[in-house]
Symmetry: C2
Subunit: 326 residues, 2 copies
Amino acid sequence: MIKRVLVGLLLFALANLALAQSDPLPSWRDDVNKKAIEDFVGDVTDEASADFVPPEERIATFGNDGTLWVEQPIYAEFQFAIDRINTLAPQHPEWKTTEPFSLVLAGNMNAFLAGGAESVVPILTASHSGMTREDFEIIVRDWLATARHPTKKRLYTQLVYQPMIELLEYLRSNGFKTFIVSGGGVEFMRAFAEQSYGVPPEQVVGSEGKLKFEMRDGQPLLLKLPDVQFVDNNAGKPIGIETNIGRRPIAAFGNSDSDLQMLQWTWAGSGKRFCLYVHHDDAVREWAYDRQSPIGRLDLGLDEARVKHWTVVSMKDDWKTIFPTK
Amino acid sequence: MIKRVLVGLLLFALANLALAQSDPLPSWRDDVNKKAIEDFVGDVTDEASADFVPPEERIATFGNDGTLWVEQPIYAEFQFAIDRINTLAPQHPEWKTTEPFSLVLAGNMNAFLAGGAESVVPILTASHSGMTREDFEIIVRDWLATARHPTKKRLYTQLVYQPMIELLEYLRSNGFKTFIVSGGGVEFMRAFAEQSYGVPPEQVVGSEGKLKFEMRDGQPLLLKLPDVQFVDNNAGKPIGIETNIGRRPIAAFGNSDSDLQMLQWTWAGSGKRFCLYVHHDDAVREWAYDRQSPIGRLDLGLDEARVKHWTVVSMKDDWKTIFPTK
């Protein structure tokens, strides 16, 4: 009897030791930023703490491009759209002489990007519409399974940030519900968010095209129309959060000025809050860019982060590894 | 040793017996419709069954008005809007002479409702805008805490359907994620859905007004504007499901023609599906209405339910009790 109790105690001690020693954030260097994350999670999950937050209110929101995966030299979804325009071009001879399609087909990316929204929106809508939502999902999945990043030469899903994957999982294991809140197209992101990030479709908030419900041969279809319904960027992010989640996050994670309003909205809530910017300062392993970059510009946000003492993660200093090994 | 094993077996048997005997749907009569629900849940949760559905795909969607709580003689949210217009009237002397406001202030409900969307939309937008989302939530909660149904004399939250509350809980305890998908305003419903239905805000899909993000004295605000962003009714329901959930439900529950497209969309998916209509046929305990009712009309849906062998619940015959006792 005594022997059984002793063996039980030993096993209990060993299990707890193993638990304490297994670091849930192994790709993060043990420094002040990692500690800030752990302290926040510790505080809001400690029932004895004044900062305790019940599980149902533990909402954490993440940008996608530049926060969870690479966004240079152009957003993956832009590259998808460009590839799709090239695929569809034979059916659209008029594109050869119509901007912005002609710029894309000629590979003149600088001129295309210089056109701003006027260039980008027609390319995005033309590449994202004219099919059912199921067919679009297949098109995106096929592209993700084969398209390689122009310089990294990896699949895009291999260019997610390993430390952020660990962070998502760490938050969820502490009772958080993790959401993506991104300017990216909601259906584009849902094609890989569950597998790559462990974020199910219903927790992905993004920009939306208009949809049309139609009965065809007695079968209901949802058709993707070439019109924008909602842009989930900048001030659109808190609006997307309110519309889709209906609760203010207690933690928000971004990397650019387009995340700033989401962080402001999160920060302004009552009780303990956590805001984090990923700062792209690793020119060797990833890219180094901030205030001047046309893609993922971080300028106003960097200033506000300093004033409000938000956590600013240095990819160079805080992350042991950037990408998953496999 | 043998004694310990026997005691263990006994406890195991007793626990399973208790489990088998505790009916998760006690307000449902033991008939063919209850059995249809139980059979469906049994099939999709049985890993050995060809109809097994993994938990992450167990999405169930419910209408609200007339499916989860009463909708006669007018939707609760209409009554809320009317009450709010009366409250605000002193600040709007022009309403006395402007339709549809003048009709509402005069209590001329028939003339008001006869105006259709042209009457209803201005009343809904005027009552649902001009404040922050937080202030609106307080206004709705205050109303729900005091307003009584005109004939039942109970609080609206006491006029939820007890059998449907049990059904929601039964599905969740079997790994389903339960969503509300309703033409009602998303923020109005979120003010009570978690407490009344166990459905968290992020699982409520509804009609949306436009929102504006604004910084005021350094504080970010979300202001409710008097414009419609999205109407989650009829064909809007599958669109709202696609936009907000991103997965096709495997089970859908409604009570009117405005749920028909949601049920069609659910039914048309591959694998085992379950569609259910609540039929209001209990003039004594609730109301009896279907094909001719201006509120909650069930006409096309009733025909389609028969053709497709959807479950049509008779409130009169299938439900032992309608409302919670407390």
